[in-house]
């Protein structure tokens, strides 16, 4: 039995469900919007964790669950709970169910994509950069500071530099322009992360165990995620990686404890690869839709125990 947890219509979840159906795997969707019909109870013991999940009338022994793909959204903002007070029984049930599901997924003897504990490194980009460096990928030279003078020197040293959030909070990557220098003293209030802008082509590498799906991203904007919104263009193309880079990607994902990861690289004109982030919850559907790479199938195979990870 495999569980897919999240919103049924969310593209990554839907694509993995389709892939599981294609290979004939036994799976259920734990659709968060149906939480009122669900219950869950479990207990730890000397031989692991045991319990039962009820999805409406169906009861599933947790020991039978061999794979779990989690794309859970924040249950507090489920439409079904809108307007309900914090202490409303439906809201309390939803919170308790999700907490029990989340905690069980952290200790379940199943292939979990991905456990929260392993996803933690993404909460700090410079922390993750240090881990990335230990797997043989160079992170872009990075400075985090409250000191405008240090930033000016860093810019002199590296030429074009960008700034972005230190944490997992999504921010639009921007180049530090001359016009920005007038407000540079504001960084004294809260440290800001600056990085040397690495010139080259963005490459997103989805890794599922030993399987690697590299996509070249050519964009008019430094942050391709926002190119379309800002009137630009982005094109995606499946490519092959040099074997040593491919092997490093596999080792990096495994080393971070991630069965499925989205690794962001930049390939320079000299064919050097820099790594600036590992996404532990990659929304791969955009890449699969544009390249035809069978990423969902690889995730499905992993969940079903058909691949090593």
């Amino acid at each position: 039995m495999i569980l897919l947890c999240g919103i049924r219509s969310e593209p990554p979840l839907e694509m993995v469900a389709d892939a599981l159906a294609e290979i004939g795997a036994d799976f259920r969707v734990v659709h968060q919007r149906d939480v009122a019909d669900y219950s869950l109870h479990w207990e730890t013991g000397s031989s692991g964790v045991a319990g039962e999940l009820s999805l409406g009338q169906e009861r599933i022994a947790l020991g039978a669950v061999k794979g779990l793909y989690s794309r859970l959204m924040d249950d507090r903002i489920l439409p079904e709970l809108a307007g309900l007070a914090d202490d409303h029984p439906a809201r309390r049930h939803a919170r308790a169910f999700h907490e029990a599901l989340f905690r069980w997924s952290e200790i379940a003897a199943a292939r979990v994509v991905n456990r929260a504990d392993a996803q933690g490194s993404n909460g700090s980009k410079p922390y993750q950069a240090q881990l990335i460096a230990s797997y043989g990928f160079a992170p872009p030279p990075t400075l985090i500071t409250t000191d405008p003078e240090a930033v000016l020197k860093f810019r002199e040293e590296h030429g074009r530099i960008i700034y972005k959030s230190i944490s997992a909070v999504r921010s639009i990557v921007r180049v530090l322009e001359d016009a920005d220098l007038e407000r540079l003293d504001r960084i004294g209030w809260c440290p800001v992360q600056f990085q040397a802008a690495i010139e080259g082509i963005n490459v997103r590498v989805h890794v599922v165990g030993e399987d690697v799906f590299p996509t070249e991203i050519v964009s008019t904007h430094i942050d391709y995620r926002y190119a379309k919104r800002e009137g630009g263009e982005t094109t995606l193309r499946a490519i092959a990686l040099p074997e040593d880079v491919r092997a490093r990607c596999v080792a990096l994902a495994a080393g971070l404890g991630l069965a499925f990861a989205g690794i962001d690289l930049i390939r320079t004109p000299d064919d050097e690869y820099y790594c600036f982030e590992v996404n532990p919850q990659p929304a791969f559907s955009y890449f699969e839709a544009n390249t035809g790479q069978p990423i969902a199938r690889a995730v499905a195979d992993h969940l079903a125990g058909e691949r090593s990870a």
Binding site: G48, Q130, T146, P191
Partner: protein
């Protein structure tokens, strides 16, 4: 010199600092509000190295160029200063500062007990169900942890009264006299499984009189370890 990073009023940290001084060690205490009021931060990461320099409001500098061992008891980033300046960006600022603290404490090029983890600045603050699972893997009798969709989500974090606490410090196990010595191997295995240099492991007697592991923490009450714990800390920070 040993740095003790701690929350304001952390009695365990103050006790440990005092005991370390009694043993002749030079100790500087830097509390969370002092770190929060730092006047300058500079943290660099590149392919081959990471460095940090923090200038405190009293003029002292913590620098990776002159690294001292750290006894790290920080549970979270200092919030006082952020509250007063961040306004509607407070939530963002908290995450940014946590990310910075996680990175610089990880990068510090001298022993840090404990190194930070994404789940806690002085080590991974694991849920009781995870400790119960790790404890069983380590070979302890554990008290079962039950959870379900009828249980209040936050009850897990209520403290569990312990009857005895053992310590694991960099692989060295300190058992109080009340605990049987056959728990030592499991304590050592738990220390290795959790990957945290210093943990306190809590025990209580079960109905049959045997000892069950009921939890563990990366920020134990150090005073319970007494002088043997100070010995172990001195050994660990000298490593």
């Amino acid at each position: 010199m040993t740095l003790v990073l701690c929350e304001n009023g952390d009695a365990s940290a103050l006790w440990a600092a005092d005991r370390l001084r009694q043993r002749g060690a030079s100790v500087a205490i830097v509390d969370a509000p002092t770190l929060g009021a730092a006047t300058r931060w500079e943290h660099r990461v590149d392919a081959s190295s990471a460095s940090v320099s923090v200038t405190l409001v009293d003029g002292r500098t913590l620098s990776s160029d002159r690294p001292a061992p750290i006894l790290n008891r920080l549970t979270f980033i200092p919030l006082g200063g952020l509250r007063s300046i961040a306004g509607r960006d407070y939530g963002y600022a908290v995450q940014e500062m946590f990310a910075l603290f996680l990175s610089w404490l990880h990068a510090w090029p001298a022993p840090v007990i404990n190194r930070p983890a994404p789940q806690g600045l002085c080590g991974n603050f694991r849920h009781p169900s995870v400790w119960a699972t790790l404890g069983a893997q380590a070979g302890f009798a554990t008290r079962a942890w039950t959870q379900g969709s009828d249980d209040p989500a936050d009850d897990a974090w209520l403290p569990q009264p312990a009857e005895a606490t053992a310590f694991v410090v960099a692989g060295r196990v300190l058992l109080p006299p009340v605990l049987p010595s056959d728990l030592e191997a499991a304590c050592r295995r738990l220390g290795a499984l959790c990957g945290t240099a210093l943990i306190g492991v809590d025990f209580a007697r079960d109905g049959d009189g045997g000892w069950a592991m009921i939890g563990a923490t990366p920020i134990p009450n150090l005073m319970l370890g007494g002088e043997p714990l100070i010995d172990a800390l001195l050994e660990a920070i000298a490593a």
